[in-house]
Amino acid sequence: MSDHALEISLTVNGEPVNERVEARKTLVDFLREDLALTGSHVGCEHGVCGACTVRVNGEIVRGCLMLAVQCDGAKVETIEGLSDSGAIADLQSAFEERNALQCGYCTPGMLATAQDLLARGGVPTREQIREHLSGNYCRCTGYHAIVDAVEAVAQVRAGEKK
């Protein structure tokens, strides 16, 4: 397989990474297998479930639909980085308090997607929250609690509630 491997340099959660990866390897497999960042999960492997959602150059992407080699030179952020930076601490607390997760497998992707919506500012309606999360599959919660948690954080961030 080494014939099909390429050198890539990128930043992952603020740390420089230089690795030789197979051209066919997806970003999420690279994060999980080569960097041991197992917080990004593999669910459907064809871009439907959103469990592998990570941030590349500030945009949320499906880690299963992007190849690692496409990330040469990119800035990648995973749930581990988002957690350690404190950027989504309020959202994580809201998910915990509202029990907006059960098995937790969808949660890293769900948090990244919710943060993407919240970063736009304002207080989205429940319909807008549901629409924005509609590419992230959760089998456990039925989504109601997730919508509650995201809505509550939006209200606090907008200064409407404490």
Binding site: E22, V48, E96, T141, G142
Partner: protein
């Protein structure tokens, strides 16, 4: 009994600082929100190899030849193993239970030997350094098949001209049950009206977000097998791995940490997981298998796929006179081991008509073999089918005599004061609350107001529907479920608690966690009964070397059974600790209590001794305790329901939706569920079990269907074509509660995990039919209710 939307007041459990009835957050959530959980798919071991399987492309085929030379020399390949070789390390199994009389099945091997019986059955394993290399080499394995006639349609599976799938068992009938109670024919003959229809339930599956995953690690030096397994029932799997590898149970350790969703999918024996364990034994190294999504669709158990001819008799006064059903279900080529594939049909027969007083009931259920993926128990086993059939009939009968559907139910539901009671099918109910639940739902949803809104909107050409489903739910199963049938699936569970040297509690429990909140519930019971703050309790689950022998988490048993064991263990340790405190303080233990982590005077509550000080003395200065006194700082208790075979719960759901008669699209507007699970340990967790369950049931009603063609090929084995409920289409779900504790345990808790899934499909079906009734549509009874079926019912296509 009382409405309990605020925390219930529970005299027997009302200890100071009780956590019973409080919505405290689960203690294990931060590692999950930070992506620092440990699912089996995250685990890597030294020298670990990966297995991928070559799977049959045919529904039924003889395996003529497997040519694997090219695969064996492919990069990274460690071994290529077919069924015959694997049979040297693992014996086959047969999925039967003796209490399901006459149930039969054929021996199933971890990898097919000579013959593949469904599309997706593994016929050869390739083990390599990486999963990618294993999959590459699978492409190089050339299997020569001779296609055999496949049995696809359950309707013709028993016909004389249909080939028999397993020559060893004479026909394609797996199991049959008949029941005839009361005077059914006479009741129908005497009825003012009889309504008859056919209900169909599409085959669907669990679609856990984390696929099935297992790592087996045979240590030839220790002669021990360690299995990291995403399972609901570690001790059951320990028994099965040992049995079929020819080992003693103590030679097998099953470890289960985080599990990415289960819902009954991960409580069965899967051939590819058994093969992975056998491969580790054969190759003397760790082997990992994680199903990919297509493998999940063609090998995770499917469920439902029932065709039920059903009939109800009714009088003009609204009284139900009789129920009759004929159920047919096709379960694939094998009854799944060890719980069997006869349970769902058996449950359907048991549960039909269950909420109602009607004494006349006839049922027939036939379970037949087919050449499709296997079917077995999935969340709410049988309930969604039985509830949709019963409640579908109820609303059709109410419409037939022109009676309001809630009023119709009021006239037939078993009265709340009639307990203990028994259903026509023979189910024994300790205490249910159908009428109180209905009344609570009525006011919660403002039923009269919604009816007025519905009427007004119809005049504007907007078609909204309201549908209901009353239900009963089987929880807290005793040995009557599996044990009596000969399966080594324990119904009891245990908890061991120890006081550590700083006064905190470490609890080991036999129940397991897949997100339901079992760890939180165990911690709440323990903290309350012993007397410490919740943050002083650590719960350990999922390790057969260390936890008490237990059943795990399924059939809504973790809170009611595991919680009671924890409650009792906490009480026992409190007694032990107060003995020590009594010795240290020269007080009578019965005059002391433990509150908030401090030994206090029972009367008055004056603080006497912090637990960390007591632990320091007991562990490091036992020489200062009275001569002959031995401190016991660990306690174990077990619990199993004895007085009732099952703790039945009950409830009622309502769906409010809008159907677009031009497109056939259904828009869900709101959903309600009132449910009675006895004592509520954590109201938030109960509500979230219900909400998640409701949405799983909505998936069955509107979207989910494993579609097969006439050759037994699954047509939609991916998440783009198999639709699951996503956030945008789901409604908000309002929950309410009535509390009727079971007297079988001190806690009084029953289960809540199946309720949502049990009632949602029936209530959505009834709401769709309510919406379409003014348009003269034929009632829809064929799930899932896709837009094309709705347009057909309206005669538009």
């Amino acid at each position: 009994m009382k409405i309990a939307d605020s925390p219930p007041i529970l005299t027997a459990l009302d200890r100071p600082n009780s956590y019973i009835g409080r919505s405290v957050p689960r203690p294990n959530l931060q590692r999950l929100t930070q992506g620092r959980g440990q699912y089996v798919s995250d685990v890597n071991l030294p020298r670990m190899a990966h297995v991928a399987f070559v799977r049959s492309p045919h529904a039924h085929a003889r395996i003529v030849k497997i040519a694997a030379d090219a695969a064996k020399t492919a990069p990274g390949v460690i071994a290529v193993v077919a069924g015959a070789e694997l049979a040297t390390v693992m014996t086959p199994w047969v999925g039967v239970l003796t209490h399901l009389k006459g149930l039969k099945s054929a021996p199933q091997a971890p990898i097919a030997v000579e013959r593949a019986c469904w599309q997706g059955e593994a016929v050869c394993a390739v083990v390599a350094r990486t999963r990618a290399e294993a999959e590459d080499a699978c492409e190089l394995v050339e299997v020569t098949y001779e296609e055999m006639p496949a049995v696809i349609d359950p309707e013709t599976a028993l016909d004389a001209q249909t080939p028999v799938i397993h020559a060893s068992i004479t026909d394609n009938l797996c199991f049959e049950r008949k029941l005839d109670v009361g005077a059914v024919d006479k009741a129908f003959a005497d009825s003012d009206a009889v309504v008859e229809t056919v209900f169909n339930f599409g085959r669907h599956t669990g679609v856990t977000n984390e696929p099935r995953a297992v790592i087996a690690d045979w240590n030839a030096g220790e002669q021990r097998m360690t299995v990291y397994h995403g399972t609901q029932a570690p001790h059951m799997m320990q028994n099965l791995f040992a049995k079929h590898l020819g080992l003693a149970e103590h030679q097998v350790r099953v470890l289960t940490k985080d599990v990415g969703g289960s819902f009954g999918i991960k409580v069965h024996t899967y051939a590819d997981e058994m093969a992975t364990v056998a491969l580790s034994k054969l190759l003397k190294r760790p082997v990992k298998f994680v199903a990919d999504r297509i493998e999940s669709f063609v090998t995770d158990i499917h469920a439902r796929d029932h065709r039920i001819k059903a009939k109800i008799g009714v009088n003009k006064d609204g009284s139900i006179t009789a129920f009759e059903i004929d159920d047919l279900t096709g379960i694939g080529p094998y009854s799944v081991y060890p719980r069997t594939s006869g349970i769902e049909a058996n449950q359907v027969v048991n549960l039909i008509g269950g909420p109602y007083t009607c004494p006349n009931y006839r049922a027939q259920a036939r379970v037949v073999f087919t050449n499709k993926n296997v079917m077995c128990q999935y969340r709410a086993v049988g309930h969604p089918i039985a509830v949709a059939v019963t409640e579908g009939l109820v609303e059709l009968a109410a419409a037939k005599i022109g009676m309001d559907p809630l009023e119709f139910r009021r006239r037939n539901l078993i009265p709340d004061e009639a307990y203990p009671a028994q259903s026509a099918a023979g189910l024994k109910f300790e205490k249910l609350s159908h009428h109180e639940s209905l009344a609570h739902l009525d006011s919660m949803m403002n039923y009269a107001g919604l009816r007025a809104e519905q009427k007004k909107l119809r005049e504007q050409g907007i078609y909204r529907g309201i549908g209901f489903a009353s239900f009963i739910e089987v929880t807290n199963p005793s040995a009557a479920f599996y044990g009596v049938g000969g399966a080594r699936i324990t119904s009891q569970d245990g908890a061991t608690v120890k006081l550590d040297a700083q006064g905190a509690l470490i609890v080991h429990t036999g129940v397991t966690e897949q997100g339901q909140g079992a760890e939180a519930v165990i911690a709440q019971c323990m903290a309350s009964s012993f007397g410490v703050p919740l943050d002083k309790v650590r719960v350990v689950t999922g390790d057969t070397d260390n936890t008490p022998y237990g059943g795990g988490t399924w059939a809504s048993r973790a809170a009611g059974i595991g919680g009671e064991a924890a409650w009792q263990a906490g009480k026992a340790l409190r007694g032990n600790v107060l003995e020590i405190a009594g010795a240290m303080l020269q007080a009578r233990p019965e005059d002391l209590d433990i509150r908030n982590g401090i030994v206090v005077n029972k009367a008055g509550g004056a603080e006497r001794l912090p637990l960390d000080e007591l632990a320091r003395v007991a562990y490091f200065r036992p020489d200062t305790l009275p001569p002959g006194f031995q401190a016991e700082l660990m306690a174990t208790r077990h619990y199993v329901p004895r007085a009732w075979p099952f703790a039945f719960t009950n409830g009622i759901q309502a769906s409010y939706l809008e159907v677009d008669p031009d497109t056939g699209f259904v828009k869900l507007l709101k959903h309600w569920c009132v449910e009675d699970c006895g004592t509520i340990i954590n109201p938030q967790l109960v509500d979230e079990q219900i909400r998640g369950g409701v949405v799983q049931g909505i998936g069955a009603a509107l979207f989910e269907h494993c579609r097969y063609d006439e050759r037994g090929q699954m047509l939609n084995g991916n998440m783009a074509d198999y639709l699951v409920p996503m956030a945008a289409e789901m409604p908000d779900i309002e929950c309410g509660h009535v509390v009727s504790p079971t007297a079988d345990s001190e806690l009084g808790a029953k289960g809540a995990g199946e309720a949502g899934t049990a009632g949602a499909p029936g209530s959505v079906m009834n709401a769709i039919n309510d919406a379409l009734r003014p348009l003269g549509a034929e009632p829809l009874t064929d799930m899932p209710f896709t837009p094309d079926k709705i347009l057909r019912a309206l005669g538009k296509i």
